[in-house]
């Protein structure tokens, strides 16, 4: 996205004047400044304006604008007023992971104990940033995990893998949750710890990971499976269920039949589109000279092209697992 404000240069904002004028909307605009100092000065100023400013900030949190949300959440975590806590708790369920992360941090900074329960739930988020932020905020709120299972979620959140591993069997629910992380390196870490724990309770989760989309995750899952007591004989079948990266021969054949050449383009052949264009010229030219008959003449050629595309797709080597 092009940021137009960069094009014309940033105007210098006079925070003191805005504060004196009680210009809340002006100060909120200043929160969007690229200058860190201006941002926090504006936040401080809004904090000094009391409930009136807080009302506007909370109202703005209900608008649908992710970037604006992030800016206000940051200001709220600097102001540390407890009024917006319920709204911020609601934002822990936002669809944007950055907003969830920001809200988690702000709740820790504000330090209101109402946030504890929702933050504990966020330790189970699929996004590692949210888990990380929630764990630190819970620490700031003085929260102590009631049992080993919760402890595992907490240590998983702050990425203290060693501590998670030491919890043994109780860490399995937390590690299973972390296996849903989008980042393959985190998944690998969780699998390695599951292997170290070496418990039969981890088997269903590990079996799932054998069909992971990432090849290094699958390899880690094989090594961990053996330590958890899965019989080696059962691993190849689970691995064979991994998502295939192979192109579909039927699609290649179909495309080449209806739009000759595009089947090759689908297989990433650089001359695929060229054949497609040649076919268009040829069809138009033949149609002009032969009329209707041209279609019957071209049909067998299309059929051959379709068979060829199908055949070369089938013959393509499979990517190594």
């Amino acid at each position: 996205m092009v940021d137009l404000s960069n094009l014309f240069g940033q105007k210098t904002v006079d925070i003191e004047k805005l504060t004196a004028d009680k210009d809340i909307s002006g100060l909120i605009k200043a929160l969007h400044s690229n200058d860190m100092h201006t941002q926090s000065e504006a936040a401080k100023a809004l904090g000094s304006l009391g409930p009136a400013a807080m009302d506007v900030l909370i109202r703005d949190l209900k608008k649908k604008d992710k970037d604006h949300h992030l800016v206000i959440i940051k200001a709220l975590s600097e102001i540390r007023d407890p009024t917006p806590v319920p709204v911020l708790i609601g934002m822990l369920k936002d669809e944007s992971s950055e907003v969830r992360w920001g809200a988690a941090i702000a709740l820790g900074e504000i330090g209101d104990s109402r946030a504890t329960e929702p933050l504990v739930t966020c330790l189970r988020d699929y996004d590692k940033y949210v888990r990380y932020g929630s764990a630190f905020s819970l620490q700031m709120l003085g929260w102590k995990p009631p049992d080993d299972e919760e402890k595992a979620f907490f240590f998983g959140g702050i990425q203290d893998w060693k501590a998670v591993g030491l919890l043994g069997d109780s860490a399995i629910p937390a590690l299973t949750t972390i296996l849903h992380d989008r980042h393959s390196i985190v998944r690998i870490k969780a699998i390695e710890i599951l292997g170290e724990i070496g418990s039969a309770r981890a088997i269903p989760a590990l079996m799932q990971s054998l069909a992971d989309e990432d090849s290094d995750v699958r390899w880690a899952a094989v090594l961990a499976s053996e330590k958890s007591g899965i019989h080696l004989m059962h691993l190849p079948r689970s691995l064979s269920r991994r998502p295939s990266l192979k192109k579909n021969p039927l699609i290649a054949g179909f495309l080449n039949f209806v739009l000759p050449g595009l089947g090759y383009a689908y297989l990433a052949k650089w001359w695929g589109v060229m054949i497609f264009e040649i076919d268009i010229f040829l069809t138009v030219w033949l149609w002009q000279t032969w009329g209707e008959f041209s279609f019957e003449a071209l049909l067998p050629i299309y059929f051959l092209l379709a068979v060829h595309a199908y055949y070369i797709t089938v013959k393509m080597p499979e990517t190594p697992p």
Binding site: L232, H234, P236, R237, S240, P320
Partner: protein, 311 residues
């Protein structure tokens, strides 16, 4: 019909058909059922070893491994050596270990050199099960490589050199990069030559590993750039871009990754059509050649730049 009933009726063919069932759970139960039938299921299970469906081959091998009949050893060895699917080769290696027949040792040793890490890993575990342990340093090197136990390989020193060079043939780039790194730390004339040769590897990480290892082996730095320049180019082909743009102006730009390539093509096509209607095809073609030549030259410079960026 359900698996349990088929098992009780000893419906071997029915169970084999279920090895390719849509649900992996059913596949597994069918394989377990076949394995529990014992010796009578052995002969009928040998034929599915060559069926086209991977699931059926895997299931049959799982069952044969559970039955443990000596009659299945030779067919399983054949599968281990020849099957195209690595999962099938892998499960065959595991099954041979389970059956425990010493005839499987030489082919499993050969599988330590398989291109696929899962097959190598399965072969190592099977060999251990058969009571085999490495005797020579060369065997120890292949053994540790199959387990991806890099520290153990490093400790073998110079005697690991030739197995390491042999395993550079694998398709897995991370493994090749690791091998080159170890060769660099071992050193010696052969390792030195190899580290220099891998500068032509298609994978960037392997090449970089080669540069670092070459330096450590004492290859003069002045020799590296020339060697590196001989690597296969993975960037766009300059020739292809020119041909495409000369015949179908715009498609070449699309090939070079420009989003507006097809926009150019459509405009060109439209102008071509209009011109053809106004002045006829031959005149249009004569007019187009110099224009397209200019574009071809421009494409040449553009593609050169793109190729240099892509490395």
């Amino acid at each position: 019909m359900d698996i349990e009933a088929m098992k009780n009726a000893q419906d071997i063919q029915g169970l084999i058909r279920h090895l390719d069932h849509g649900k992996p759970d059913v596949q597994r139960r069918a394989a377990d059922a076949l394995g529990s039938l014992g010796e009578i299921a052995c002969e009928p299970l040998l034929r599915p070893l060559v069926y086209p469906q991977v699931n059926v081959r895997i299931g049959a091998i799982e069952a044969l491994g559970a039955i443990g009949s000596p009659r299945s050893v030779e067919p399983l060895i054949h599968t281990l050596i020849t099957d195209k699917s690595h999962e099938v080769r892998w499960v065959a290696a595991v099954a041979l270990g389970e059956i425990g027949d010493k005839r499987a040792i030489p082919p499993l040793l050969a599988s330590l050199k398989d291109d696929n890490r899962y097959v190598r890993y399965g072969a190592v575990r099977a060999l251990e099960q058969l009571g085999w342990s490495p005797e020579t340093d060369e065997e120890r090197a292949y053994y540790s490589l199959a387990l991806q136990d890099w520290d153990a390989v490093k400790k073998l020193g110079k005697s690991a050199t030739s197995p390491l060079i042999d395993m550079l043939k694998v398709h897995h780039p991370a493994m090749r990069a690791r091998i080159v790194e170890i060769l660099g730390s071992i050193g010696g004339a052969v390792a030195e030559r190899t580290c220099e040769q891998v500068l032509r590897d298609p994978d960037e990480n392997v090449r970089w590993s080669g540069v670092l290892s070459s330096q450590r082996c004492g290859v003069p730095a002045s020799r590296l750039p020339l060697e590196l320049s001989k690597r296969p180019r993975t960037g766009p082909s300059v020739f292809a871009a020119i041909i495409l743009n000369f015949f179908f102006l715009g498609v070449g730009y699309d090939y070079l990754g420009k989003w507006w390539g097809f926009v150019v093509l459509e405009i060109y096509m439209l102008l071509f059509l209009i011109s053809q209607l106004l002045v006829g095809l031959v005149t249009t073609l004569i007019m187009m050649v110099p224009v397209l030549s200019v574009f071809a030259v421009q494409t040449y410079f553009m593609a050169k730049k793109e190729a240099a960026l892509a490395g």
